[in-house]
């Protein structure tokens, strides 16, 4: 708690300065509302924004889970043969370097269900770091341990399950932490492009909507909620990583 005091104090100072500048300069609320106005907008629309946040998070978490499972499976398949990796990995890179926004219009045409559209786009944004990190981990298995498994007559399935997957776990979790942020970015971008899905609109489409109506306090409230969601997601994934690796990996060692 003591460690958080300095950055928190800095944050309050910043917000205070902002509020002060807005009041002093008499800046209209449709150009730049102060923190108090934003907090008020957040407070009055809390239930409404909360349910929008739930919609966005639902897509983000579903896409992240899908990316984690499919990314890890793809990496395990690619690790089975250098040929498979040579054939398929370039397409994973292709997926990574293509900006999501440019694919969105096509996906919107081909897929009717908006939830599925958002899910596909967020999944595409999130999967690459999982594939590439997990693959790196699978290929970094200790050569002597591999020999030992061979010497003891381990089957391929045993080698994958008991040697390769645990070896790759820290790398996979590193990829997952990056993918969490990307899944949220993917969802937000997709919402902005795909628009709302009727009554159930996500927080990013609410943000765009509010900014069109020059309700900047509401738009900024959405912005801060999204940032907070991203932060919480990161912290949750970081905690998961520490928990899973606590006994053995250097990254989870608590500083003395």
């Amino acid at each position: 708690m003591k460690r958080a005091a300095a950055p928190l104090a800095f944050g309050f100072l910043l917000l205070g300065g902002w509020e002060f500048a807005v009041r002093l300069g008499d800046i209209p609320a449709y150009i730049l509302p102060g923190p108090v106005a934003i907090a008020a907008a957040l407070w009055t629309n809390f239930a409404d924004l909360g349910s929008s946040l739930a919609v966005t998070l639902e897509v983000t978490l579903a896409a992240l889970a899908l990316a984690a499972v499919s990314g890890a499976l793809i990496a395990i398949l690619l690790a089975q043969s250098p040929l498979a990796e040579r054939i398929f990995f370039p397409y994973a890179v292709f997926l990574q370097v293509t900006p999501i926004v440019t694919i969105a219009p096509f996906v919107i045409i081909w897929v009717e269900n908006v939830f599925v559209v958002l899910l596909i786009l967020a999944w595409m944004a999130a999967i690459f770091p999982i594939i590439s990190n997990t693959l790196l981990g699978l290929k970094s298995v200790d050569a002597n341990l591999k020999d030992l498994f061979r010497l003891y007559g381990a089957t391929r399935a045993q080698t994958v399950r008991r040697l390769m997957i645990p070896s790759a776990l820290p790398y996979f979790l590193g990829g997952l932490r990056i993918a969490g942020g990307l899944a949220l970015i993917g969802t937000v971008v997709a919402e902005m492009v795909a628009g709302t899905s009727g009554t159930r609109s996500g927080l990013a489409s609410r943000l765009v909507e509010a900014s069109y109506r020059l309700e900047l306090a509401l738009a900024l409230a959405c912005f801060f909620l999204l940032s907070a969601a991203g932060l919480v997601l990161y912290l949750a994934l970081d905690a998961l990583s520490r928990r899973l690796l606590r006994h053995w990996h250097e990254s989870a060692r608590t500083p003395a």
């Binding site: 200790d142 002597n144 341990l145 020999d147 030992l148 498994f149 061979r150 010497l151 003891y152 007559g153 381990a154 045993q158 008991r162 040697l163 645990p166 776990l169 006994h247 053995w248 990996h249």
Partner: protein, 247 residues
């Protein structure tokens, strides 16, 4: 010598890059004997051990084992434990991979003095204790053949001596066949019934000596004249081959 546990007939290894790691070697390792391989680094000792384990195929000649490969255990210079698994799981590995019961694990841990550390993770152990766990894993199957590749090279001398004593005691109780690679002449002489001296690359056998020391080997032996004489003899042989090689 009784029945051979290992027989190398003209076994040689040339890597695909053209490097000749091992010139043809011929020797047998008797069942139940303790043989050390000494030589300068890069003399193909490790290659030879991997040929014996069946982890490498010889490019010429043959390596035949008296027993099935599943009866062979290997100890590396590093403890090579799975860092994500506790000591018990690591030691049980050779058994669980074969679907056998792990009931011999507690007794094996006791034999290497790790009974209180079954649930510790490798990083919580010292280097010497990690090596004990590695040895426990190697002996948990009661292997017919135990291949050890400079297992104590990374440890301090005090720990090394203790592990030497413990390894000898285990061998005297069980009479496994042990092939032990080391670059320490003193260690080789202290442990073995027989020392095979190898030349620098391409490795070949330059001497094959029976160690004429009493079966009972303890701290007093390390200071004895007989021990010093044996060490000096091998040291001289090694000096000859390395200077000959350099010339």
């Amino acid at each position: 010598m009784t029945e051979a546990a290992l027989r190398l007939a003209g076994a040689a290894k040339t890597y695909p890059t053209g490097t000749v790691a091992l010139a043809p070697v011929n020797f047998e390792v008797g069942r139940g004997s303790f043989v050390s391989l000494v030589g300068p680094s890069g003399c193909g000792k490790s290659t030879l051990l991997r040929l014996m384990a069946g982890l490498l195929a010889p490019s010429h000649g043959t390596v035949s084992r008296g027993d099935d490969i599943s009866e062979t255990s290997f100890v590396f210079q590093d403890a090579t434990l799975m860092p994500w698994a506790d000591v018990r799981t690591n030691v049980a590995l050779p058994l669980t991979l074969k679907g056998k019961s792990a009931e011999t694990v507690p007794e094996t841990l006791k034999r290497v003095g790790l009974e209180r550390f079954a649930q510790s993770y490798p990083r919580e152990l010292s280097g010497g204790m990690q090596m004990r766990a590695s040895i426990a894993r190697a002996i948990v199957t009661s292997p017919q053949l135990l291949l050890m590749d400079e297992p104590f090279a990374a440890l301090d001398e005090f720990t090394r001596f203790r592990l030497n004593d413990d390894l000898l005691a285990l061998w005297q109780q069980n009479h496994w066949t042990i092939v032990f690679v080391t670059h320490s002449i003193r260690e080789a002489v202290f442990l073995s019934q027989r020392v095979i001296v190898m030349s620098p690359r391409p490795g070949r056998v330059v001497a094959d000596l029976a160690i004429d020391l009493p079966d009972r080997r303890d701290e007093a032996l390390r200071g004895s004249h007989a021990f010093a004489d044996q060490c000096a003899k091998i040291s001289e042989l090694l000096r000859d081959v390395t200077t000959e090689h350099a010339a």
